[in-house]
């Protein structure tokens, strides 16, 4: 089955060589998806300015078929987390991620979204969006230049190229589950850590035991 799909060993007659191409289903499927990644209009901080510059005439994101920025998560394929993720904002980001339909991708643009960046020690700063939603590509920089962002997008295209329609999660038996939305309490509360929170002793750092985020 696999070979049949991905290795089309079908000879094309000479007279049709110029008119017919035979390819695999994966390649044509991925080619269509990688050439029309629609990002969400979603700017958090400084990185958003470079993201806009990437979309503007000089760097021209349209060369990659990605110029269609959508303001609604329902129509978006890619969430570029462009800036510092704060505790006050993260419930909204997780909600937006949950509202995106599959297939969906997340890019952590810049140092803050990747790991907290220069503001990591801040009391209102989340140490990277990957604490809450799965990230596909990390782009380093503060902010990444438009060239760096484009490089990240090309990496994402390569990732898409290597996916197989038979293995992708969105056609599988178990549809992807929504990420539980964090809650603002005395500090940020992650519902996935409810058990740990229930027995919490208050002091950070008093135990080496941590839960998988």
């Amino acid at each position: 089955m696999e070979n049949e799909l991905n290795d089309p060993n079908v000879p094309v007659p000479d007279e049709l060589q110029s008119a017919v191409t035979i390819t695999s289903l994966d390649r044509i499927y991925n080619w269509g998806r990688r050439s029309s990644i629609w990002p969400m209009v979603f700017g958090l901080a400084c990185c958003a300015i470079e993201m806009i510059c990437t979309a503007a005439s000089r760097f021209d994101i349209a060369r990659f078929g990605m110029e269609v920025f959508r303001a609604t998560p329902r129509q978006a394929d890619l969430m570029i987390v462009s800036g510092t993720v704060t505790k006050k904002m993260v419930p909204q980001i997780v909600r937006l991620f949950n509202q995106m339909p599959e297939p969906k991708y997340v890019m952590a643009m810049g140092a803050c979204a990747s790991g907290g960046g220069p503001f990591k020690e801040g009391y209102n700063v989340v140490s990277g969006i990957d604490k809450f939603v799965p990230v596909d590509v990390y782009v380093p920089g503060c902010p990444p230049t438009p060239q760096a962002l484009l490089h990240g997008l090309i990496k994402l295209q390569q990732k898409i190229d290597n996916q197989s329609i038979k293995a992708v999660r969105w056609y599988g038996q178990n549809a992807s589950e929504a990420v539980p939305i964090p809650v603002l309490g005395p500090d940020l509360l992650d519902p996935r850590q409810h058990a740990l929170l229930a027995q919490q002793a208050g002091q950070p750092g008093d135990s080496a035991e941590t839960l998988e985020a």
């Binding site: 901080a45 704060t86 500090d187 941590t210």
Partner: protein
């Protein structure tokens, strides 16, 4: 540095008429701490003193209100900086209150511009302001535990009071902070917190405070409803939220909600060394990092008493004015976005900005986060070549030919455009007296007919030698703000042309030896610059160590938003987007 040298640059003491000092007796005394200026007012007479200053002495503009936690003395001090809109130096007065029971009278009735700033002090220090109309947290959320800027409050990733932290020195034991935390995240909870008997606070108190009346006596029956715009909304210029009460389509009340990009600049700034704060200033108003650097340099230079070499002054002004052009280009482009001309005008507007960014990148090493200025000069001189051209020729060509052409192009396309005019004229009107009372700054203030520009009102750097006009308009609507920005870009280009003519070809760009850790003499200082978005001020308190004891940013975007609700009332909901666009906010600076 000798004592004499410091006296030369001692901050100007603003005299208050003797009769007024006498009238208040013990309630008003000169602040005689070493390196401090201004007056200390008693809690009881704060409101009276403020009223007298405003009405009798003409200090009608309250620039900055902020708090300082003097932990050792057990006091929280609230510092006010007032100015006369006719120009001149600050009058600085402060009031001290017990840390344990901090209650102060609110000055919102005297200076409405104190509104958000008092809320910020309430949020960060827990000072209650009696008589404040809406005393709620502003940057953090309701229900957050503690007041972060108090000196005894520690964040979850706390390592040490001051940088450089031991763990980050060479040979230090570097660990990821996540590994040290029980939850693997940047969180900590009070001891008594019990998640099973706890319910989150919702926004009902926010919604309850809105004025939802309207539609009385109208023929058409309309519904009143509350709409949340943001924090994820394409027209809010970032993560800003407006809670709008509507009657049909007409706005009856509007409440800005912010803090979604609160990155704790001030807490981090108090842990940093003085120099380490410079790159952080870049990230305040990330569209104008060069001028942010300038403001912070001025504040610290005032304390240190260093002079800046001539060539460095010219370079600073050149960079600051190029920043103004690029910022206004952006502001106008995205105002048009807000008007519904999606992307196309913005693309035209930011084309010229890229050329300016090339200069920044070649000189400072980065397009946006320039980190260019130092205490006593600038970090680097102009490079020899830029885009394979001689740098001086490139900049000369830019300021003499390309920028004027780009501004003319915008002007030609937009200023007379019928849609722009009909959507902007008469919308979001802000009268001059209100603009002053609400402490607005920058193009917002000048479009209302107040010719207040720090470059003229209290000149810094070499602005007193340069020839330029303060651009004002009289109607105070969205259109006038747009026109003021166009005019200001022309004046900035004019300044750049002068700089390129007059800049010394050779010369020092830095005073003294570059130091990684500067020691700043004791005292307080308030340095302010005319940023593209308005008056940017830095209030710095030094205790003579390598780290600032207090580092506060008076952010123009933040304070300009105080008046947003007033301007929007009575307009249609679509106009709220345009009025917000005309204020030109950047969330990095609003939330800090």
């Amino acid at each position: 540095m000798s004592e004499e040298e410091r006296n030369v640059v001692a901050p100007e003491q603003v005299p208050v008429a003797d009769s007024i000092v006498a009238r208040f007796g013990n309630a008003l005394r000169t602040d005689d701490r070493d390196g401090y200026e201004g007056y200390v007012v008693s809690v009881e007479s704060l409101k009276d003193v403020a009223t007298v200053l405003r009405d009798e002495l003409g200090y009608d503009y309250l620039s900055s209100v902020t708090g300082v936690d003097y932990f050792d003395e057990g006091k929280i001090e609230v510092v006010y900086h007032a100015y006369q809109t006719s120009g001149g130096p600050a009058l600085n007065f402060k009031v001290q209150v017990d840390r344990e029971n901090p209650i102060l009278p609110s000055l919102v009735s005297v200076y409405p511009g104190a509104d958000f700033q008092e809320r910020e002090i309430f949020d960060m220090y827990g000072v209650s302001f009696e008589g404040h109309p809406n005393l709620r947290r502003i940057l953090m959320w309701d229900g957050f535990a503690g007041h972060p800027l108090r000196k005894d409050w520690q964040e979850a990733y706390f390592e040490e009071e001051n940088k450089p932290f031991d763990s980050r020195w060479p040979g230090g034991d570097v660990k990821r902070s996540e590994a040290e935390n029980r939850f693997g995240k940047n969180v900590s909870y009070p001891d008594e917190f019990d998640i099973d008997n706890w319910a989150p606070e919702d926004d009902s108190s926010l919604y309850a405070g809105l004025n939802k009346s309207g539609s009385n006596g109208k023929k058409l029956k309309t519904d009143s409803l509350v709409v949340n715009m943001g924090p994820q909304h394409p027209s809010t210029h970032g993560v800003f939220r407006m809670v709008v009460a509507l009657d049909g389509e007409t706005i009856t009340d509007l409440q800005p909600v912010m803090g979604y990009l609160h990155r704790n600049h001030e807490k981090i700034g108090e842990r940093n060394t003085f120099l380490q704060n410079m790159p952080y200033t870049d990230r305040l108003d990330y569209l104008s990092s060069m001028s942010n650097n300038l403001g912070y340099s001025l504040a610290v230079e005032k304390l240190m008493g260093v002079d800046v070499p001539e060539r460095a002054e010219y370079l600073r002004v050149l960079m600051a004015e190029l920043t103004r052009v690029s910022n206004h280009m952006w502001a106008i482009g995205f105002l048009l976005n807000d008007l519904g001309a999606f992307q196309t005008p913005a693309l035209y507007a930011i084309r010229a900005r890229e050329l300016i960014l090339d200069i920044f990148e070649a000189t400072a090493g980065s397009r946006m986060m320039c980190n260019y200025m130092r205490f006593g000069g600038v970090a680097r001189d102009l490079p020899d070549t830029l885009r394979d051209e001689n740098t001086v020729d490139f900049i000369g060509d830019l300021v003499n030919e390309r920028l004027p052409a780009a501004i003319d192009e915008l002007d030609r396309f937009l200023t007379g455009n019928e849609i722009v005019r009909s959507r902007c004229i008469g919308v979001g009107v802000l009268p001059a007296d209100k603009a002053i009372a609400y402490s607005t700054a920058g193009p917002l203030l000048r479009a209302s007919g107040v010719p207040y520009d720090l470059r003229r009102a209290e000149p810094y750097s070499i602005y007193d030698r340069l020839d330029f006009e303060v651009c004002t308009r009289s109607n105070g609507d969205v259109y006038d703000r747009y026109v003021v920005r166009i005019d200001e870009m022309r004046e900035s280009v004019k300044i750049c042309q002068q700089v390129m003519r007059e800049i010394p070809e050779e010369g020092e760009i830095f005073t003294g030896k570059p130091q990684y850790n500067v020691r700043v003499p004791k005292g307080e200082s308030y340095g302010r610059v005319e940023n593209p978005k308005g008056e940017l001020g830095y209030y710095v308190v030094s205790k003579g160590k390598t780290n600032p004891y207090r580092y506060h940013v008076r952010a123009p975007s933040f304070i300009n938003l105080t008046v947003l609700g007033e301007m929007c009332k009575g307009h249609k909901v679509a106009d709220a987007v345009v009025i917000l666009g005309s204020i030109d906010i950047v969330l990095g600076e609003v939330d800090r």
